[in-house]
């Protein structure tokens, strides 16, 4: 166990290294660059046994990711924004072929106008493509979640790929104190990858066939069943990790802050929840019974856990760092659907697009507007 003050990207690279991926296809894009640069350092300095594939595009990065997973080795990659958008075609091919690798996404706005700063439009737009998506708040959580996610994805009942989403710049480029676990402990927690099927001339299989209308839906239904199995497993693996390493993040799916007697709450994902804790503390001092729900797992969506967490609430302010143009914030859509008929006043606030600051003032306004029965809106 090493305690250090470190840039989150470096910490994430250390976290990835601890998982011992054997192949890392990657293509650089801000703000993901520092992660892959550190991994390149590790490999070229002989501190890590892995092949880095310097592909010519993110599209090829994810296509190579499929090849190496299918050949039976643990695989890692990282991207952001346009990179994830370029991978879009391959996202459902990775999940449809049940390749359980992990990708870090340093969340960044999608162009145009081109913008390198944080919002969640990249990952949330990819929400429906069969990847487990976990959003984290801190450097420590990024490391710990990466280790957990491999274990979840590689479980033979699941076999799905996963994304660890970290906010670009507001997390990726921030230095924080973090504990880097010992390799030995991680090896015990995360044994070597054992593929269920792989490309092996001794046992030939065909991966990636054409499926006609008579079988296609069964493939998709099985993916949904895998998602349903992943949901409790995320919690279970989280608890195991907590027991071994002494750190926990709510129940692994969502985290509650001062929710015991809360009447109103904020819900959001990623680093904004750190600021939200302060906003909640300040409003508590003003005598308002408010709390925070940090949603960690966007997919699979923890519907029952959310219902339980909001049981006593009168109102909920949903902070979306992305907007589904032509409708509303996607987290709002999901939250309202999950809480349908529960009689909770739910308001939608759009914030932090393209790196716009989400400060305490804005979050307090969202909560106060919800308390006062006002409509949601854009926190410009």
């Amino acid at each position: 166990m090493t305690e250090m003050v470190v840039e989150a990207s470096m910490a994430l690279a250390l976290g990835a290294k601890l998982c011992r991926p054997k192949v890392i296809p990657m293509y650089p894009i801000t703000p993901q660059t520092h992660i892959v640069e550190r991994l390149a350092d590790f490999i070229n300095n002989g501190e890590m046994e892995a092949e880095m594939i310097h592909v010519e595009s993110e599209h090829s990065a994810l296509a190579a990711f499929i090849g190496s997973e299918a050949a039976g080795v643990r695989t890692y990659t990282a991207t952001s924004s346009q990179g994830l958008a370029l991978m879009y075609e391959i996202l459902p091919i990775v999940s449809g072929n049940r390749m359980p690798g992990v990708m870090s996404v340093a969340n960044r706005a999608l162009s145009a106008p081109i913008n390198i700063w944080n919002d969640h439009s990249d990952a949330v737009s990819a929400r429906d493509q069969g990847w487990i998506q976990l959003f984290v708040e801190s450097t420590q959580e990024a490391i710990d979640t990466t280790i957990q996610l491999y274990k979840i994805c590689e479980n033979h009942e699941v076999l799905l790929p996963g994304m660890v989403c970290i906010d670009g710049f507001t997390l990726s480029h921030v230095c924080e104190r973090a504990i880097v676990p010992e390799q030995e402990a991680v090896d015990e927690f995360l044994p070597e990858y054992k593929p269920k099927i792989m490309l092996d001339p001794e046992k030939p299989v065909s991966i990636g066939p054409i499926a006609f209308p008579d079988s296609f839906m069964e493939f998709k239904k099985q993916q949904q069943e895998a998602m349903e199995k992943a949901l409790p497993l995320i919690g279970k693996v989280h608890d195991e990790f907590a027991k071994k390493f002494g750190r926990s993040y709510g129940n692994g799916l969502l985290e509650q802050y001062r929710m015991d007697d809360a009447e109103y709450a904020l819900i959001g994902m990623g680093t904004l929840t750190g600021t939200a804790r302060v906003a909640v503390d300040e409003m508590r001092k003003e005598g308002k019974k408010v709390g925070l729900i940090k949603l960690k797992s966007l997919r699979p969506f923890p519907k029952e856990e959310l219902i339980k967490a909001t049981e006593k609430l009168q109102g909920l302010a949903v902070i979306d760092r992305h907007f589904s143009l032509g409708f509303e914030g996607p987290l709002y859509t999901d939250t309202r659907s999950a809480l349908y008929g529960k009689g909770i006043r739910i308001k939608n606030f759009i914030a932090g697009l393209g790196g716009r600051d989400i400060d305490i003032k804005r979050l307090k306004k969202a909560l106060n507007d919800t308390i006062n029965g006002k409509e949601g809106g854009w926190l410009l």
Partner: protein, 298 residues
């Protein structure tokens, strides 16, 4: 069965390719050269569709298909994983059509060749996007009518010449590049073998008639492929470490017209266009000869 070639088949009969399709001939003989200890990575296209209708498969060796433009990138991932596992003795063969190779997957192939990945990339060159209904590719020959370059009243078919991909791959520094046709399975077998025995990224292109797309007689695919060589439309050569070697000389070529008239996709062509094609064929052949004679390296 061809005398002297291994009997064992790794691409089973019963696949759904059209009668007269050249591609299965190419695949069968390449796999005979590669043998059992091989992993195939396939691009989307006719051969993927006809060989893998779930839950059936024609592949008796491990096979993976990801997307249309990803044969080279997925093969890179497979190769690197094998390297990390100490399984470098396994052959990796990537198959793509001309659309997958010349057009949409070209960046990925260029990247893989620049990186020096260790696999044999095979392009089944049938001169159009056949799987989606005979649309033009950058391998479609000048003058051919394709569904997106139809022989219209104003524009009589495709107006551009084929992209010279084998040479472009040689210019990447590929240690072995070769062309073959389905008219000579022995040649396919031998060239595939060389490509597999050579370390690094190798490129083999097989010229492969498509009766459905070419509007040709499905009983004549082999003859047509042979005519392509005899008219110098499709020269057979190897480029070994940058040095060009013509593997089948054609001292007395037949006029291109003999080849063109076997296929409905050329039937609209006037004498001007036929002259243009003949000229281009002559020039390309001369260039090739000069490259061979000079011995200069790519």
């Amino acid at each position: 069965m061809i005398r002297g070639l291994p009997e064992e088949e790794f691409f089973a009969s019963g696949h759904r390719a059209c009668a007269g399709c050249g591609a299965p001939i190419a695949i069968r003989h390449i796999l005979k050269a590669a043998g059992k200890n091989t992993i195939v990575v396939q691009a989307t296209g006719c051969m993927e569709v006809v060989s893998s209708p779930y839950p059936q498969t024609a592949w008796e060796i491990p096979w993976i298909h990801a997307a249309f433009e990803t044969a080279a990138s997925t093969a890179s991932g497979v190769w690197r994983a094998l390297k990390m596992q100490g399984r470098e003795n396994i052959n990796v063969v990537a198959f793509g059509g001309d659309g997958a190779t010349y057009d949409i997957g070209f960046g990925a192939i260029s990247g893989a060749f620049e990186r020096g990945e260790n696999f044999l990339y095979v392009c089944n060159e049938n001169g159009a996007y056949m799987n989606t209904g005979i649309q033009r590719s950058s391998a479609t020959p000048f003058g051919a009518s394709a569904t997106t370059t139809p022989a219209g009243k104003k524009i009589p078919g495709k107006r551009e010449f084929k992209k010279p991909v084998p040479f472009i791959m040689a210019a990447h520094g590929a240690p072995y590049v070769a062309t073959a046709t389905v008219a000579d399975p022995n040649d396919i077998f031998n060239k595939a073998k060389k490509g597999l025995e050579t370390k690094g990224p190798c490129y083999l292109e097989v010229f492969s008639p498509c009766p459905t797309g070419w509007h040709s007689d499905s009983a004549k695919s082999i003859e047509i492929a042979r005519l392509a060589v005899e008219t110098r439309i499709y020269p057979l050569f190897e480029i070994i470490n940058g040095r060009v070697k013509i593997t089948r000389d054609v001292p007395e070529p037949k006029p291109v017209e003999e080849y063109l008239k076997t296929q409905g996709r050329f039937k609209h062509l006037g004498s001007e266009d036929i002259k243009t094609i003949q000229q281009r064929v002559n020039e390309t052949w001369e260039k090739l000869k000069k490259m061979e004679e000079s011995g200069c390296k790519y």
